[in-house]
Subunit: 87 residues, 2 copies
DNA sequence: TTAATATTTAGATAATTATCTAAATACTTA
DNA sequence: TAAGTATTTAGATAATTATCTAAATATTAA
């Protein structure tokens, strides 16, 4: 869970997640949305992947990134417990 | 929102939130749960407060901290949009 | 008013993180 | 196989962050 929260702490990474909400994208397509080098974006993608927030699939010379929605479940649960006072 | 996610990125701060889920606590009581100096905890509390995740109220020489649940609503909404594909 | 207690502020430092450039890897196509 | 394209890895650096100690502030009680 710590890795997940750390991954979410960066605005670039949250923006990437929001882009992937719309549709799957290649690493190169993602980098076009930012004023940042491809290696930097690649590093952000790596962090998101290690946090299980995204998945990747190699197709030819491209790597296609997509959301891994299962972890969002857990996060919703975590936040929900503060709302309702569960454990 | 950035301040909020940054605040949540630290495990000590998340532990503080979980303690406050049980009951309101003074700064001193909170610090007893950690192997860390009071100034360090005080700094974490300040960050949580700036992120609107907690509130504080001075009572005599004590400062009582409590959860500010309204921001958790927003967070749940943010995460929910990934689950359901809303905007 | 002095002493004790609770908390925060200030300033320093070590660790972590975001970013860059240069180079490496992997795949495709000519 | 050579050249071109997509992506990642490596290594360096500047900025941010978590933590500490020492000191300041605020409140209570003697």
């Amino acid at each position: 869970m710590n890795e997940t929260f750390k991954a979410l702490a960066d605005p670039t990474r949250r923006k990437i997640l929001e882009l992937l909400k719309e549709r799957d994208l290649t690493a190169g397509e993602i980098s076009e949305y930012f004023n940042m080098t491809k290696p930097s974006i690649s590093n952000h993608l790596k962090i998101l992947k290690q946090a299980d927030l995204v998945q990747d699939e190699k197709r030819g010379q491209f790597v296609i990134y997509s959301l891994n929605t299962t972890v969002f479940q857990d996060l919703i649960g975590w936040f929900f417990s503060f709302q309702k006072g569960e454990n």
